[in-house]
């Protein structure tokens, strides 16, 4: 039952995150900095689910994001799958999920994923890339708070 609930939550969450990345992110950019909604979802999800489930969710988040972006699908897949894997290892590292940990974990995973993406597909200007990465990490950290509040209620509900 729990597996089904986790799977369904992942499916709906990924779908909504991808749709929001297309519609919400460009409209709510601050000084040109946009959030990375699928990555924020992967980071928060990985705190509440197993490492295997987080890795698979990271894979699909990367694949969907790469497909929507139209380029670099491989780079997105690898960076997001690794984010899911390492995020899913948080329990093994002794991290207890809460709002602060979710925000911090999301910010750290955003920076790590973007740095990995930087090496896999180097962008034009390093200065702008770094600025965007730090901005996106902060934005994602804030975004992680409502996402965590929602996911923790769904995935940690009694009887699940």
């Amino acid at each position: 039952m729990k597996g089904f609930k986790v799977g369904l939550t992942a499916l709906i969450g990924l779908y909504l995150a991808s749709a929001l990345q297309q519609s919400f992110a460009p409209r709510f950019a601050i000084f040109g900095i946009m959030p990375d909604v699928p990555l924020a979802f992967v980071a928060v999800f990985s705190l509440l689910a197993s490492r295997l489930a987080s890795t698979v969710v990271g894979f699909f988040a990367g694949a969907m994001q790469g497909a929507l972006a139209g380029v670099n699908l491989t780079h997105y897949v690898i960076s997001r799958t690794l984010a899911g894997f390492f995020g899913g290892s948080s329990a093994a590292m002794g991290l207890q999920p809460n709002v602060a940990v979710a925000a911090l974990m999301t910010a750290v995973l955003t920076v790590a994923s973007q740095i990995l993406l930087f090496f896999l597909a180097p962008p034009g200007g390093i200065g702008r890339f770094l600025g965007d990465t730090i901005g996106a990490a902060m934005y994602n950290g804030v975004l992680a708070i409502p996402v965590y509040a929602l996911l923790s209620k769904i995935l940690a509900a009694p009887g699940s």
Partner: protein, 268 residues
């Protein structure tokens, strides 16, 4: 957490390999101006939802903008209507001359000029890191790879891949984009405009004495089957000389704000 770490690592490796495979499929399709089957499914599933959310957000924003600035908007609508009436007379004359030019070209065995048919499109996705936008029109509406995409401020990019109902546009800053361009001087200096990432572009002129200065307007040269001549691209930001290579480089900044465009025209 009873599952071994080894299994998780194996899954990670397999998924990364699958990602590489999907990426390869994507690249092969993109080279042909097409969208791979996986991306096509994702686009078909996600676009209706993202389009709906986007329209709802724009509708809400427009509603409140209307509430707070209704009097000035009404005045603006009245002014635009009178301007439209005046423009209609001018447009009729332009259309008639256009038809005459096309007829003369046909009689002389010349190809049809590009950009005569305009396809209006909504921007339904924006990926700044990849310098791409997605439009809600595709091959079903006559869109094909290589067509120019413009907004009132000028050219913004070129269609790269197409599905039946959507298409991806490489924006001017894309490093893989090459467009024939010229400065708006007499005589014009002609070169190839290339994206340099972000909002940056440059034109390399093979003559180190090319007459180009900061502030010059840059437009398309029209040496292309699909991109019409005279579309504004941007302005020259600075000029650099490379005496060793015998080149002069003009750094160009686009006139259109590429991140805030909501509606565009595809020129066929």
């Amino acid at each position: 957490m009873k599952r071994g770490r080894g299994t998780d690592v194996l899954v990670l490796v397999v998924l990364c390999a699958m990602g590489a495979l999907l990426g390869r499929m994507q690249s092969q399709s993109r080279d042909k101006g097409l969208v791979d089957p996986f991306s096509s499914v994702v686009l078909k599933l996600v676009n209706p939802m993202s389009g709906g959310i986007g329209r709802a957000m724009d509708g809400t924003r427009d509603f409140f903008a209307g509430v707070f600035s209704a009097p000035s908007l009404r005045a603006q609508v009245r002014r635009l209507k009178s301007e439209e009436s005046a423009m209609a007379l001018y447009q009729e004359r332009v259309d008639a001359l256009d038809l005459e030019i096309e007829e003369l070209r046909r009689l002389n065995g010349m190809a049809r000029r590009a950009g005569q048919i305009r396809i209006a499109a909504d921007v339904i996705g924006y990926t700044p890191r990849e310098n791409r936008i997605m439009l809600g029109v595709g091959s079903g509406q006559g869109v094909a790879p290589g067509l120019a995409v413009a907004c009132p401020e000028g050219l913004i990019g070129v269609v790269s891949t197409v599905t039946t109902s959507s298409c991806q546009v490489s924006l001017l800053g894309s490093a893989n984009l090459l467009i024939g361009a010229m400065t708006a001087r007499k005589p014009p200096s002609v070169g190839l405009l290339q994206g340099a990432g972000g909002n940056s572009m440059y034109i390399d002129f093979n003559d180190p004495k090319t007459d180009v200065k900061a502030g010059d307007l840059v437009m398309t040269s029209g040496f292309s089957e699909k991109i019409p001549r005279g579309l504004i691209v941007g302005r020259v930001l600075s000029v650099e000389d490379n005496p060793e290579m015998g080149q002069r480089r003009a750094n160009v900044f686009p006139t259109a704000n590429l991140g805030s465009i909501r509606e565009v025209i595809v020129l066929r």
